[in-house]
Symmetry: C2
Subunit: 775 residues, 2 copies
């Protein structure tokens, strides 16, 4: 937690002041000098905070009012929000006694209430129409009436039960939004009304989700971020610095048992761990802005992170929150936008639900706030334009004006490597993007840390996309969020028994066990190590990483590269896994291709009755549909999906089992998607390779009924040479061109010279890898 003030005095020496120290010092002074403190307090009273000041400001509102009718996207959003709020005002105030889980009436009603009064508050400011202020006031008074006597929520599933909702998380959502509503009508209320609301509602509410639930509040977790921000937002409105300090740095005392876990199996708090908002910004974000839980949860946390940052920027400018950790908040917006496929859907790393995208309201906030607080990031405008709506505040106005004035530039997603971990040294996630003649191919390779309680056991796993289509899928999570019929919308049993297990992912399984034996505590200690990431040559983009802890005694080294070769219609994906083990093991490498099998170049026998592939660690969920073997050295399968053809060509031995699977066994309530998979299984082997190429080729048009380029371009794929330190992969194409890929496993420096001799011919190169092409 380091701040740079002014310019560096010398090249290597900067004046560094820790923000934390500043606050500590401030508190010390405040506490030790009560009289002075009182004086300060009096100054504050006279110099008191303007309202609104969180996401709207007095001058901002004036600016907005002047622009009304001249900024199409802003005007459209305003009209939509007004229609929505007007309908709710007609419906009347409903503040039921809490009873239900999410999806149930009381839950959904309270959720709607906070979303609507936040909007009503904004409408009051922008439209200067007291109808909206009155509505917010009535709603707040209704809550203030029931809150003092409300017991803890009757549903008992959560490790931190709320009062309005079954978990403190949702209570915190409520307060984050409601604080904004309160801020908007602050001056509309009398002092008596404000005192009543603060005494009977906001203060006890903030106390409940913090002091009374330290296991919720004093953590590093997206839940706690919401809690910290809720307390921080209301602290800002109430101008309560002590409460703000709690929000920023957490409770001083919590007595949390270091072995305590939450409902997802995650630890509550490590001994000595820093907590509070700043710690939640510090620890889960890597310097590259990657949030360790993955994009689905990063998206969820972005709203409180950014809306609170916006409020702090408005009220506590001196905190320079957007510069914190080298501007990680603004960086994280770009990271998140880059963690999407061509349609804007987030890659479903860890427990991610497919279909969540940058069209979500959290990303509307993120893009608008990101644009406003960064300079000239006009590429964000092109995302905002697709979103088609903006925040009704200064940031949204700026975006809408930018769109109106045609300032947007394309948002170009590049190949990039995102480090994981607080200091960026706990592995990462690499995205390779290959522009072909058709849609872009995107590879997502994960060599990150565990990702907290939502992490999956899938070191060195990958997924592959073509445009917005999944080619090789990551399963995502086994949950139907907010769909009552499926376990009340919560995590399903199969999330643990299938989605988290290693076999559910496109990576190496050893002896039918998951990485780290599926143990969260062990997994949380480790991460994979990057070996190389190099996208400097657009014709050969490469990522390579090692995993040595998933299976003690076994090292897995995976290298994946997009190769653009003129003999091929599109870039192909080269996948090389080198395994070095101390003992013999069984290895399974699944590829969850999506679509229908077109052909295989080997004999296989389809089962007449289907049995599960195994009994545990996820294998029990796979139907064993067919098994084959080949003596040709290559297993090749082609499949068809969304009018396109794909082929996987793998180097295999005569002993390897080639297994076709389908997800869905031991799934008593049809909770799983019945998708296909293809597994290459090697048994009783120590050191070995899995080498494959995935091609996207051709097209089928069901209207013209014409199939083009429907076949693989690869005639033969071989490991021409291998030793401890090197591998040479030979690719022979059907048009008789050929190429060879050389790779060094032992030295990843970019200027190291390498030399190997294959069949009396000497090959020399500099750097980790080399592609030799004869065509």
């Amino acid at each position: 937690m380091v701040y740079q003030i002014g310019k560096p005095i010398k090249t290597n020496k900067v004046l560094k002041i820790k923000l934390h120290d500043i606050l500590i010092a401030f508190l010390f002074i405040a506490a030790s000098c009560k009289a002075q403190s009182k004086a300060i307090s009096n100054i504050k009273k006279s110099n008191k905070l303007e309202h609104p000041s969180l996401i709207l400001t007095k001058t901002g509102v004036e600016k907005i009012r002047k622009q009304l009718g001249n900024v199409p996207v802003f005007d459209a959003t305003l009209a939509k929000v007004k229609a929505e709020v007007d309908a709710e005002i007609l419906n009347g105030i409903e503040v039921p006694i809490p009873k239900d889980y999410s999806g149930g009436y009381t839950h959904e009603r309270h959720k709607k209430n906070f979303l609507i009064i936040q909007k009503a508050g904004v409408l009051y400011q922008i439209l200067d129409d007291a109808t909206y202020a009155k509505y917010v006031k009535s709603m707040l008074l209704a809550y203030a009436k029931i809150y003092p006597t409300l017991p803890v929520h009757p549903q008992t599933r959560s490790y931190a039960r709320g009062k309005l909702f079954w978990q403190c998380l949702n209570d915190s959502n409520w307060l984050v939004y409601t604080s904004q509503a309160y801020d908007c009508i602050y001056n509309y209320l009398t002092e008596n009304e404000r005192n009543h609301l603060e005494k009977d509602l906001f203060k006890p509410f903030a106390k409940f989700i913090s002091e009374e639930n330290p296991q919720f509040f004093n953590r590093v977790h997206n839940h706690s971020t919401w809690g910290n921000v809720a307390v921080g937002m209301i602290a800002l409105v109430m101008d309560d610095d002590k409460l703000l300090e709690t929000a920023l740095h957490g409770l001083k005392h919590d007595n949390i048992d270091p072995n305590a876990r939450d409902n997802d199996g995650g630890f509550i708090k490590k001994a000595g761990q820093k907590v509070g908002f700043l710690a939640n910004l510090e620890e889960p974000f890597s310097p590259d802005g990657y949030y360790t839980e993955g994009p689905y949860y990063q998206r969820y946390a972005m709203y409180p992170f950014l809306v609170f940052a916006e409020a702090l920027q408005n009220v506590k400018l001196e905190l320079k929150i957007f510069e914190y950790k080298n501007g990680v908040l603004l960086k994280s917006i770009y990271t998140l936008l880059n963690l999407t496929d061509a349609d804007g859907n987030f890659f479903p790393l860890n427990d991610g639900q497919k279909g969540m995208s940058y069209y979500s309201r959290e990303l509307v906030s993120a893009v608008d706030i990101g644009y406003y607080y960064s300079e000239n990031k006009t590429d964000l405008l092109s995302i905002a334009k697709k979103q088609g709506e903006v925040l009704l505040d200064n940031t949204g106005l700026a975006v809408a004006i930018g769109i109106r004035d045609g300032l947007e530039t394309p948002f170009i997603k590049k190949s990039l490597d995102l480090s994981d971990g607080k200091n960026g040294d706990e592995g990462g996630v690499a995205i390779l993007r290959a522009n072909g003649s058709k849609d872009e191919l995107s590879l997502v390779m994960k060599y990150s840390a565990q990702g907290l309680s939502h992490g999956h056991y899938d070191k060195l796993s990958f997924s592959l996309y073509e445009g917005g289509n999944e080619v090789i899928q990551d399963y995502g999570m086994a949950r139907f969020v907010n769909i009552q019929q499926k376990g009340g919308g919560n995590y399903l049993k199969e999330n643990t028994t299938w989605a988290k297990q290693t076999i559910a992912h496109n990576t190496i399984n050893q002896d039918e066990t998951s990485h780290f034996n599926g143990d969260f505590e062990t997994g949380s200690l480790h991460h994979s190590e990057k070996y190389i990431f190099d996208v400097s040559n657009s014709k050969l983009q490469i990522v390579s990483a090692k995993e040595t802890n998933a299976y003690p005694g076994t090292q897995i080294h995976r290298t994946m590269a997009f190769v653009k070769d003129n003999s091929f219609e599109n870039s192909f994906l080269l996948d090389i896994i080198k395994i070095d083990a101390e003992k013999n093991h069984q290895y399974d490498l699944p590829y969850y291709f999506l679509g229908q099998l077109m052909s295989a170049n080997f004999e296989y026998t389809k089962s007449e009755t289907l049995m599960p592939l195994g009994t545990k660690n996820g294998f029990q969920h796979l139907w064993k549909e067919a098994v084959g073997k080949t003596g040709t050295g290559n297993a090749k399968i082609s499949w068809f999906n969304k009018e396109r053809f794909y082929t996987l060509t793998s180097v295999v031995s005569n002993e390897d089992d080639l297994i076709f699977t389908r997800i869905g066994a031991n799934d008593p309530r049809f909770n799983l998607r019945n998708d296909p998979g293809f597994i290459i299984r090697k048994q009783q082997i120590k050191d070995t390779y899995f080498v494959s190429i995935i091609e996207s080729h051709g097209h089928y048009d069901p209207v013209s009924e014409i199939a083009t380029n429907a076949f693989s371009n690869i005639k033969n794929l071989t490991i021409l040479y291998s030793d401890e330190a090197y591998v040479a992969i030979h690719i022979e194409n059907i048009n008789h061109t050929e190429s060879m890929f050389l790779f060094s496993f032992k030295n990843n420096s970019i200027d190291k010279k390498h030399q190997i001799k294959i069949e009396d011919k000497v090959y020399e190169w500099v750097g980790v890898y080399q592609l030799i092409n004869n065509n």
Copy 2:
């Protein structure tokens, strides 16, 4: 075949002249008076045919040239076609010796050749650029060089092998297109060149596909339509009336064995059957324009039907071909457009491949020709606008001008009943369309005749759509047209063993056998009988039909209705099947829902190993995933697909088996789609009912993660009363409203009075059905 000339003289008496008789008379005169004939021929020579005259005419071309640059869609199509042809001209002429099946090089090359020279001929006319004429000429000369010595195609699979292609069908495609090219450059060629081409190429070509292949030419079948039109088109260009007569009425002698069959198992020709183009227009089309093979094949046949009609209209106006059979050709265009879902995809009745749509080139022709030869059918322009391209002829120009001038009106698909059979008395296909608050729900109920060799054994089957999404799917065919990897792109074994079988469809199976015992000959003798079709009330649209021949001794009477009830978000589908049998049987009723099961209201046990549901007649292809029973009287399953929820509620007894299935067993080469199904099975029962309701309800948004209206609205569904003649279905909703549907099975007159007594209460109504609603 009846023509009305002038106005009726008396109410019930019209002057009727059979067109066929006119032609016979004409031929009689021509044949009996050779001298006169010669004289006529001489007149013709002097009065000889202008060129072009088939799809382009001299005046038409002049008109087109004048409009160039002023008609956007026409200009765009022209530019696209020009670019395509120019590229091929650069590529040079390739006329390989025939060798391959479809998908192979020689097949695809010859196919491309005819498509390109047709376009090149048109470009020559429109652009007046001899480059194109020269290209066509070179291509034709290349064909004239090889044709005289070409043997029959080396591939032997077809019942009618071609010379350029493996089947005469494709040779006929070639001639239909090539005739147009020849017409376009006719005047560019010298008389010697024309004589050479006609002598060495066109005349022997026409002879080969007609006289030398009567089993192909002298049939009523889409194959023969192509053959007839091919001969007819070249006859028109060559001004050869004798050949034209053969095209219109077939060969006089053929010696076809009445037991002979084609590759699909269809009979070649019934004894005494009329043949030739007019017979192919007469017999397979019903008076409503429904083509008995179904929309997928109707689409395929539309091009030759309409392009030849256009040519006849241009050259033989006196035939009044568009008025033939009460204007059935133009009517059939509307029929075909109505046989599509909201996205324009044809309903996959019989052997239909999904994805074929009104965006196909055949439908571009159909829409353009339809617009040009009908009056004020401006709704066709809205389809043409979606297609975004037009024919490069007079018809396409008219359409493009219409679009440019904004003349289009919406194409509104209505509920309609399409009779099947030459005389419209062989059952039919009903389409009910219910406009809801979201997308339109469409029911397709099939109670037609067999549909020739491409027919499926699925009497009284149905499929259900919401917008462009399948809710309850028809499987379509087991074939991947032109995809080499899958059986060379031909029909797969599973088309016979699965897709054609009754269990593959959403209709009643008796004793695990298919309708007509899967016998084509028997199936071809019968059709279902309409009982009622009434869409006069938009709140209750109904179709009802009976089948008595599929299972001798058993009558199946199915009634389906869309009901708009204010308690429901959307119209729901009521499905009532009454079975009257002479003996006890087992009945299976499958519903092939698409999507993921959300919930069931009964206990079921998922199988730990999967076995096929049966051993034959398609049952061997179903995995038995789970079986349940219920004592509640209702089986209810809900599923989720494409962000929507659906629920099937069925009246069941305690004994009924409730079976979850998945397609894919006994499918050794992964040829089938592994889709789910739900079967209600009643065993050892004689007379019985299957009564169900299908609801579409609610929505799930993966971005907001909000599920709305996710549950069924039906609390209880009961058969309150039933006897030989009546049934009363009672529907109780969760909001305590209720309704009752009364139906008479024995009298379908619309003014018959009915009365039944249920629990001492007398119900009276007029007409077949009545819905009583208490809310």
